[in-house]
């Protein structure tokens, strides 16, 4: 296998609301024999709330520089962290003046542009590869799955590693695990509403409801996703959305790393599947 060791950037939600994503990411890579070295003393990527691009570049230069010192490419399970890491990587690689300016803030921001930034889904499908993954799978998922990609895997074009309107890397992975993809293409690359959760929850809730409802009408056993903000919105907030909009949804939402972990034969608890807000027991019964 081509990949054996990567720098791991967990992102802020990994310690709280997306601890299940963090657990399953670590468990899957361990099972695949890829060593993850956590970026020492990592800082926040700036998320969607830091809008000054130079500030984003400086914040991410520090994390990139720490990984670069280890001589490792950096991988993250969070779509927003990926977007910020990769756009900073591109900007810093292309612009000597910017690199000098960032280095001038502090010597720990001295990044030479020698590594790649990757999202875990990209590593699974494009670096490790479907054939290798298939050889290692020991369980079949008899599940109908709605693959939900959200924003930053296929957009913007500068950093994307999947199609902007019809992304399919998760579809391929789910089919490989024995899962069936339900009709969901009109929803899979829409935004979950997450960025407006705290300032316009009325809009955010309605956007999330549409995604959840579509998955339900399509007969999905669960939604699979790859971003902790989408996870917070569709899973963590699902009961709040049901209450606010007077609807009943009850749709399990899991991270793609949790599904992959199940297919690789990893114990559900080790994948944090008891921590998803909407109960996942029905899913586990369909893994054979």
């Amino acid at each position: 296998m081509s990949v054996t060791k990567l720098a791991y950037y967990p992102g802020c939600p990994s310690e709280a609301t997306a601890i299940d994503q963090d657990m399953s990411t670590k468990a899957v890579f361990e099972k695949l024999g890829v060593e993850l070295v956590e970026v020492e003393d990592w800082n926040c990527c700036g998320a969607a709330e830091v809008e000054d691009p130079e500030l984003v570049y400086a914040l991410n230069a520090r994390n990139l520089a720490i990984a670069e010192k280890e001589g490792l490419d950096i991988v993250t399970p969070c779509s927003i962290c990926y977007y910020n890491l990769e756009r900073s990587n591109i900007a810093l690689k292309a612009d000597d003046e910017l690199r000098a300016k960032v280095k001038g803030i502090d010597s720990s921001l001295d990044y030479n542009g020698k590594i790649k930034a990757k999202h875990v889904l990209d590593v699974f499908v494009n670096d490790i590869g479907l054939e290798e993954l298939s050889n290692r799978m020991s369980k079949k998922l008899n599940l109908k799955v709605a693959p939900y990609y959200g924003c930053y895997l296929g957009r913007p074009p500068e950093t994307a590693f999947d199609d902007p309107d019809d992304p399919d890397l998760m579809d391929k992975l789910i089919e490989l695990m024995g899962g069936e993809i339900v009709p969901f293409s009109q929803m899979k690359s829409l935004c979950c509403g997450g960025p407006l959760m705290m300032t316009r929850s009325d809009i955010a809730f309605e956007m999330a409801r549409k995604i959840l409802d579509t998955a339900k009408s399509a007969g999905a056993d669960c939604i699979a996703l790859a971003c902790p903000l989408c996870g917070m919105m569709l899973d963590g907030k699902q009961a709040d959305i049901e209450k606010a909009l007077h609807v009943e949804i009850d749709m399990p939402v899991v991270y793609i790393t949790q599904l992959l972990g199940l297919a690789l034969g990893i114990d559900a608890k080790e994948l944090g599947l008891n921590k998803n807000a909407v109960d996942t027991k029905d899913i586990l019964g369909k893994v054979v």
Binding site: C12, L55, P156, P157, R200
Partner: protein, 145 residues
């Protein structure tokens, strides 16, 4: 509108604050205009104009974004509780009203996360980076004044 010089109309347009930064506009633009980044720049100009008292922004998003950035400046990572404790009182105009609004939004959610082991005692306190001095420097030199 920006090209036509309609400065005030652009800066006081309420749609600026419901943008999701989802990048769909940038991905679709046939002229390769990075519309999402453009809107982001316009929001930053609008925030400065509002701080100078030249326009009024009818959205709590600038307060939210600032409160978020303050957590990073102080701790290097996002501290959810610190963010809520700054955002809600500023949005509601008083500490008491802010706490009431926070409870309304987050009482059920917090309990749900607690039961699932996602918001234990550890989440009550900020997860700080060790090198806080460098965070101060980053925000001091790159952050908007």
């Amino acid at each position: 509108m920006s090209l036509l010089g309609m400065r005030n109309e652009v800066l006081s347009n309420p749609d600026l604050w419901v943008c999701l930064i989802c990048q769909t506009c940038t991905a679709r633009c046939p002229q390769d205009v990075e519309i999402s980044d453009l809107l982001s720049a316009i929001r930053r100009i609008a925030e400065k104009e509002a701080e100078a008292g030249n326009i009024k922004i009818d959205s709590s998003r600038p307060i939210f974004d600032k409160a978020f950035q303050h957590q990073l400046e102080k701790y290097g990572r996002l501290y959810d509780i610190g963010l809520a404790k700054e955002y809600y009182p500023k949005r509601e105009g008083s500490f008491f009203k802010g706490m009431m609004a926070m409870m309304k939004d987050y009482k059920d959610f917090g309990m749900r996360m607690f039961k699932k082991g996602k918001m234990g005692p550890k989440a009550m306190f900020p997860a700080k980076v060790k090198d806080l001095a460098v965070m101060k420097k980053i925000f001091g030199e790159m952050g908007e004044k």
